[in-house]
Subunit: 276 residues, 2 copies
């Protein structure tokens, strides 16, 4: 027996066990038991320990389902996120889910914008952006307010708006700069009140947004209107002025539906609140 | 030197080299080397390794994000599901995800229908249902065709349709029976060709759907129209006949958008295919 050689062979095996996975670096989302690299684990442990508990799995399925229903506009108006999804929404917003979804919408928007031929548009081709949770992120506010678990408090939110410190959604800034460079007229259509015009404009500039054509805010005559009605009315006016709305980005369906709907609309993710 | 043992060890190494890849059968586009569960041995003691591998987690996040984008109508027309989400979509359809999402849309639809006051409607209040993946499930077909991973094959699908064996989506049958009981006129508006009228009607009855007011199929004059244009045109006709469309259920956005849009629309989940 050549004992001196054996440890080397074992080292080689351990080396292989460690290094071989690197040769197959990619996995899929949906590993069920038999799809998981079980043989390796079974030598050490039981594979079912690698899964979430059934209760945790069920909760995640239910809250994902709730979020998908919200994004697909299947839910009736809701005032706050479901209590049982509080941790789910927090993790979604703070971990990777929100960022991945934002990036995907941003990429789709840019791809679409680049397909459009703006020659002969006489400067009348336009893109409409909502502001809150579309260009500017109020996440620093919602971090302190349960990510939508608290009923919306208009006064507290207004105090946050007055600070003018909302950061840009970088993925939206990319779309914004792209459509400007392509020659679109850019309209910002926000549910914020007219009295926040200056601070909103300052906040936008500070966050990197420039050269919009119009910043449209809610005037006193629009008070009491639902967002969908107010925003439809403002889009109607743009169309009457001869503008063609080719793109519209918003985190609420009330930014996108109604009348004078854009050629194509992009629904940015927002599981924290709903505006009818 | 123990020569007799050496060939066995080499065989073991060759065996490992051959078999280990099978333990990592699935690939995705979006993971990188450092996300793989490299130190497998560490999994004995460290509890945080009881979670999914970072690569599997990343892949699931990406495919969930793709599915959400599809449900929110953020994607440009797509021909087939992304290769890297093949297993994800299969698990979604076969495990609990699809069923949970269907149930949620069904519950929301019934809740909404019950809020409507149909008195004084003169029998003109209506609900429009799409057929495929809305009332009838073609899952038995798609099981054999990669759940949307294969490019759609119209001839093969027509052979499946001719069998008339598509089962009901039970969650939709519940909505159907509820709105009938509430007194809605029910219109079925399908992209299926007029030549499938008889088999479609027989299939629907076999699956438990009865007493619809009209079954509208695509006639030769509708050939070449996109689904959104064809269905909008048919809804326009219903509205011109005096019907008020209060609810609309469909698994495609082309069932729901366009003209004569319903008061409220319900987007049933479908990550397998997209019809423009």
């Amino acid at each position: 027996m050549n004992f001196p050689r054996r440890p080397i062979t074992i080292s080689a095996l351990i080396f292989l066990l460690t290094v071989l996975p690197l040769a197959f670096p990619k996995e899929t989302s949906s590993s069920t038991d038999h799809q998981f690299p079980r043989p390796l684990i079974l030598e050490i442990n039981e594979s079912h320990h690698l899964k979430k508990s059934p209760a945790a799995e069920e909760s995640e399925l239910q809250c994902t389902s709730w979020r998908v229903a919200a994004e697909a506009n299947n839910l009736s108006p809701w005032k706050k996120i479901p209590d049982e999804c509080a941790d789910y929404v927090k993790e979604y917003m703070e971990y990777k889910g929100y960022e991945i979804d934002l990036q995907r919408v941003s990429n789709e928007s840019v791809l679409y914008a680049r397909t459009l031929n703006l020659s002969g548009s006489d400067g009348k081709f336009s893109w409409v952006f909502d502001v809150d949770e579309t260009l500017l992120s109020n996440l620093p506010y919602y971090v302190d307010h349960g990510y939508g678990l608290e009923i919306f408090d208009g006064e507290k939110f207004d105090e946050w708006v007055e600070k003018g410190e909302a950061p840009a959604l970088k993925s939206s800034l990319k779309v914004y700069e792209e459509v400007l460079a392509l020659g679109f007229k850019v309209f910002l259509l926000t549910g914020r009140s007219e009295r926040f015009r200056n601070i909103t404009a300052r906040n936008l500039v500070r966050a990197g947004f420039r050269n919009w054509d119009k910043l449209i805010l809610r005037s006193t005559e629009d008070n009491g209107k639902t967002a969908i009605k107010y925003k439809s009315g403002k889009r109607n006016e743009l169309v009457q002025e001869g503008y063609k709305i080719l793109g519209n980005s918003g985190d609420q369906w009330s930014d996108l539906l109604g009348t004078s709907i854009s050629e194509r609309s992009f629904k940015l993710p927002n599981p924290m609140y709903y505006i009818p």
